[in-house]
């Protein structure tokens, strides 16, 4: 072996003087060998120009080597060798030939050092070209070409694939924009342009670029989507360093009007959420330097309000996560805070805002055990142990006040830290984005958080990372089902990490609110089966800065039978679907499963039942202004201003309809009738 290596080195050293300067004259090296590359000084080697994703520009000079694989195994090319003393090398491995170099792998700094290493699966008979450049150092170095152990098996794998149409600017939003319940990709290009890559039924994307009035600001800190005018097309809010702007879709989703708000402040997380539960989405914006802001939707305008939901004087408000922690049917808010000012000041203490049911909120973090004094930019909120109560994994962005904190909801408005033994107790990763989803569809929520990995949950507050990290950005990583296969994918810039899935089953639940906001944001979705119960709260704006899909996604492991799906709408209406099939996207229209007389708080009546020509409304002490009629798919078939208590329904097709009435105090009421 030694002899062979020596002879290879001898052969090589003869060639090196003239050989490795260009791709065409690349020197052949042997598998299992270590090669000395002399300093770049006095050499004229051509630098590689295809850098295979490495940024920071090309080097001035290069060195070229090659080898041909004799078996299909994993190979490692490395300068991570003790004799190199952490020399700053850059390494690229190509296949193909010199006129058509195909990227196999590239690395600049390996594992925190300056040396480089690339491991790849080699194919018998393929020639691999190895290139180095002197971008950072012209010193000589050694490199080795060795067989590598096969990588540890992935628990769940993704295939990274470019999606044509995704374009520059801000790539932080995956959500259904056109109401077909397929997740689309929003690229905020500039202050006057927005591109939406619409997912097509075949899994391809069609991109439309919209020119909009100057938005002044971009979603440099966060983005959220929601249909705040209930017209069937999602609208957007950009959160920037100078306030927010709304982009409202027109009635056909083919254009956007811009509503730039004049308040100029450092925005962090934004959400759409129906804060006052009037059936119209409001918007919330964390203020980094002052009490939080929100915009109350009066049906025409989004009206700025500051104060009442997180009022720490100097802010430190990083992420607002809206869910119902006390199962009382209204939406509460966990506020992730990152603190200024040092010990004792308390700007870093998280808050938990309980909805008082009347549009006001009370911070009960102290009593609830959620006044976590950590440096948090977001937390992952979900029911990690499937006990029917939403838990919180408090993520950290700095280790100065402790690391990730796993908080179990005890079901009595208190939370207990169960970090010990959770897998997070030995985890010192830091990050901004912490989002709870079931990525492997095993029925237990996972966390896409720090460390470029997913922590897979087991349903009992134990989490393990995948054996290999995933190539995701630490910050730009919206989640959605971008090929409609029931497994969640992750966007990473112009690429999508498509989930390769497994044999587990799943259910997606899409909502169509009638009395509640059209997205059903704030609704509680429950599914029942052999696993017991799983819950999701429908949200807009999770994690710190990205907008991920609104659809409630469930994995159910190897089970196939779902006994029941229950939707608890913000309006109080409860829909129940019995025995839906698994592996489907289920659409639930608010009230569609209810009997004619089953609407809660019924304070008016409709007759005759059924009706042929005229629907008559009788009510006491309520003056109805207008009415909207929806079919059982949630499609609006009639919208009218009420002149009397009678509605002419003669022209409607036979069937069951939902009726939404708005009174003169803008309160909404819904009912159901049958047309014969």
């Amino acid at each position: 072996m030694k002899k062979t290596l020596l002879s290879i080195l001898t052969v090589f050293s003869v060639a090196s003087a003239i050989g490795q300067a260009t791709c065409a004259s690349a020197v052949t090296v042997a598998v299992g060998s270590t090669t000395t590359a002399s300093a770049y000084t006095n050499e004229t080697g051509t630098a590689p120009t295809n850098l295979c994703g490495m940024n920071n520009g090309a080097g001035a000079k290069g060195k070229w080597y090659k080898f041909t694989a004799t078996q299909s195994i994993n190979m490692t090319v490395s300068t991570v060798l003790p004799q190199n003393n952490n020399v700053d090398t850059r390494l690229i491995v190509y296949s193909g030939d010199c006129s058509n170099l195909v990227c196999v792998g590239a690395n600049d700094d390996f594992n925190g050092g300056y040396t480089s290493q690339v491991t790849f699966a080699a194919t018998t008979g393929t020639t691999y070209i190895i290139a180095f450049d002197n971008r950072y150092s012209s010193a000589g170095f050694d490199f080795s070409v060795t067989e590598a152990a096969p990588p540890a098996p992935d628990r769940l794998s993704f295939t990274t694939q470019a999606v044509p149409g995704i374009t520059g600017g801000y790539n932080n939003c995956v959500v259904d924009m056109n109401g077909d319940f397929l997740d689309d990709i929003v690229s905020a290009i500039s202050t006057t342009q927005l591109a939406i890559s619409y997912q097509q039924p075949g899994g391809t994307f069609t991109t439309t670029t919209y020119t909009v009035a100057n938005t002044s600001v971009l979603p440099s800190w966060s983005i959220a989507a929601g249909d705040y005018d209930n017209n069937g097309f999602n609208d957007l809010i950009y959160g920037s360093g100078s306030g927010v702007v709304f982009l409202k879709a027109n009635s056909t989703g083919t254009g956007y009007t811009v509503d730039r708000k004049t308040q100029s402040y450092l925005v962090q997380r934004t959400n759409f959420v129906d804060i006052n539960n009037d059936g119209k989405l409001d918007a919330f914006a964390c203020d980094d330097n002052a009490p939080n802001r929100y915009y109350i939707n009066d049906g025409t305008n989004m009206n700025h309000i500051q104060g009442g939901i997180g009022d720490f004087p100097s802010g430190g408000n990083y992420a607002s996560n809206w869910f119902d922690f006390d199962n009382d049917g209204d939406i509460d808010m966990y506020l992730a805070k990152c603190g200024q000012g040092g010990s004792g000041v308390g700007g870093n203490i998280d808050q938990l805002h309980r909805n008082n049911g009347n549009g006001t909120f009370t911070n009960i973090a102290d009593a609830a055990g959620m006044a976590n004094p950590e440096q948090t930019w977001s937390g992952a909120c979900g029911d990690f142990n499937n006990d029917g109560w939403m838990d919180v994994i408090v993520g950290v962005n700095s280790g100065s006040n402790g690391y990730t904190n796993v908080k179990r909801n005890n079901g009595d408005s208190t939370f207990t830290s169960v970090t010990a033994g959770s897998g997070y107790d030995t985890n010192t990763w830091l990050g901004r984005e912490y989002v709870a989803e079931d990525f492997d569809n095993d029925g237990y929520l996972d966390v896409l958080g720090s460390g470029n990995n997913i922590m897979f949950g087991d349903g009992n507050f134990h989490f393990v990372p995948n054996a290999n990290t995933y190539p995701v950005s630490t910050v730009d990583r919206p989640i959605g089902d971008l090929n409609n296969d029931g497994f969640l994918d992750i966007q990473n810039g112009t690429n999508v990490l498509f989930n390769n899935g497994n044999s587990n089953h799943w259910l997606n639940v899409n909502l169509r609110g009638i009395q509640s906001n059209r997205n059903g944001i704030g609704a509680r979705v429950e599914i029942y089966g052999a696993w017991g119960k799983q819950i999701r709260d429908v949200q807009s704006g999770t994690g710190f800065q990205n907008m991920s899909k609104i659809t409630a996604h469930f994995g159910i492991g190897q089970e196939t039978v779902i006994n029941q799906v229950i939707i608890r709408w913000p309006s109080g209406i409860v829909d129940t679907i019995t025995n839906p099939t698994s592996n489907q996207s289920l659409l639930v229209v608010e009230g569609s499963t209810l009997g004619l007389d089953a609407f809660s708080n019924q304070n008016f009546s409709l007759y005759p039942v059924p009706t042929q020509k005229t629907l008559m409304i009788t009510a006491e002490n309520i003056n109805f202004k207008n009415a909207q009629i929806f079919d059982m798919n949630g499609k609006m078939v009639r919208s009218l201003t009420l002149q009397s208590s009678n509605i002419d329904v003669e022209s409607l097709a036979k069937g069951t309809y939902l009726l939404l009435l708005t009174d003169d105090r803008n309160q909404k009421h819904s009912g159901k009738f049958i047309k014969e």
């Binding site: 952490n86 100029s264 002052a290 200024q340």
Partner: protein, 364 residues
């Protein structure tokens, strides 16, 4: 309002008479016109304070209004600045430590005017804003004045306008002749505090002996600022030896000293003990950056940017240094400083490049 103004004048007159009596009777004693009545501030107009004489826009300080400039200054989108100190008669500040702000008496006003001299198309001069910090019994308060287009006076920004902040669109020429159009930021009260605080308590930033121990050209000659303040009766005393920052422009000074002075002025208000970003491990205040790890040298960042951007400073290699990366980007969620800058400071970046390139430390 008028009545109070009159009352203040009467008080001043009385005071003048009093001091006149205690002095030689026949000597003319000029009177400072400045009025800072703590029960009345903030006044509606900047002119109400009488900080300036002659045309307001010339910013000629009134009697007892002392101009100054710290040795290294904060970059604010290439705005030029004029700074002044005023204190009530008979009061003075005291020295605390080289790296601590002077202990100012109640009633002190710190005045800072922001302006451009290259407003396009004609390279005109335009004053944008004057920011005041006034020391009350219960601490420092921030007041913001926005100059009118005629440049005759500035109006107080108050109420929701001061809660929300705003911007002024300007087009100006950079030192490298590049034409820049930008929304110049008028800070909100909360944004003033975001930088001007220690342990959440409002505080000035630059007025520390380490930054004032330098010569400055006053209208009657060149003089050490601290000495001037003593002569003015504004400062009790100061020690002979002060661990001082330098003017980062001064190429006769060692590069490390220049760079440390620059990052003190531009970064340390947040990145110091009990500052806004105390939870990051770096400490960028001048008195601490003599220690490599405080300056971020070889320190892995809490938020790594990419595999090649992991360390705050990679010695010898600015393109692998997050400090350099964050100074070189305008992206709101990545740039540093986060507030007060929307344009890259070319000269500051060049300084940091030179500094990092000069380093020879080997990281583990």
């Amino acid at each position: 309002m008028k009545i109070h103004y009159l009352r203040a004048l009467v008080l001043l007159c009385f005071f003048t008479v009093f001091t006149s009596c205690s002095d030689k009777d026949d000597e003319y004693v000029p009177v400072s016109p400045v009025v800072v009545d703590l029960t009345q501030v903030p006044y509606a107009k900047l002119s109400d304070y009488h900080f300036f004489e002659g045309d307001m826009k010339d910013q000629i300080p009134s009697l007892n209004v002392v101009p100054y400039e710290p040795s290294s200054t904060l970059f604010t989108d290439y705005a030029s600045k004029k700074r002044f100190i005023w204190m009530p008669s008979g009061t003075k500040a005291t020295y605390v430590a080289d790296n601590k702000i002077l202990d100012f008496p109640v009633g002190t006003a710190l005045i800072k005017t922001f302006y451009y001299t290259t407003i396009q198309p004609d390279n005109t001069t335009k004053i944008i804003e004057t920011r005041l910090m006034i020391r009350h019994e219960d601490g420092w308060k921030f007041y913001e004045y926005l100059w009118n287009d005629e440049q005759t006076d500035a109006d107080l920004v108050s109420g929701t306008d001061f809660l929300n902040g705003s911007s002024v669109n300007i087009t100006f020429k950079k030192p490298n002749n590049e034409i820049i159009n930008t929304d110049y930021r008028i800070p909100s009260d909360a944004e003033c505090l975001a930088c001007h605080k220690i342990n959440e308590i409002p505080t000035p930033i630059a007025v520390k002996p380490q930054n004032l121990n330098r010569n400055f050209t006053f209208n009657n000659g060149n003089k050490n600022i601290l000495q001037k303040l003593v002569e003015q009766g504004y400062l009790q005393s100061y020690p002979a030896n002060i661990n001082s920052t330098v003017d980062y422009h001064d190429t006769s000074q060692p590069i490390a000293l220049r760079a440390r002075s620059y990052i003190d002025a531009n970064c340390a208000h947040c990145h110091q003990d009990d500052g806004r970003c105390y939870y990051r491990p770096i400490r960028l205040n001048f008195s601490m950056t003599n220690v490599d790890s405080n300056a971020g040298i070889c320190l892995t960042a809490d938020e790594v940017i990419s595999p090649t951007l992991q360390k705050i400073i990679s010695p010898g290699n600015f393109s692998k240094s997050i400090l350099h990366y964050r100074m070189s980007t305008n992206d709101e969620s990545e740039r540093m400083p986060m507030l007060g800058r929307s344009i890259v400071h070319d000269e500051g970046v060049a300084l940091i490049e030179e500094w990092i390139s000069s380093m020879t430390q080997t990281c583990n």
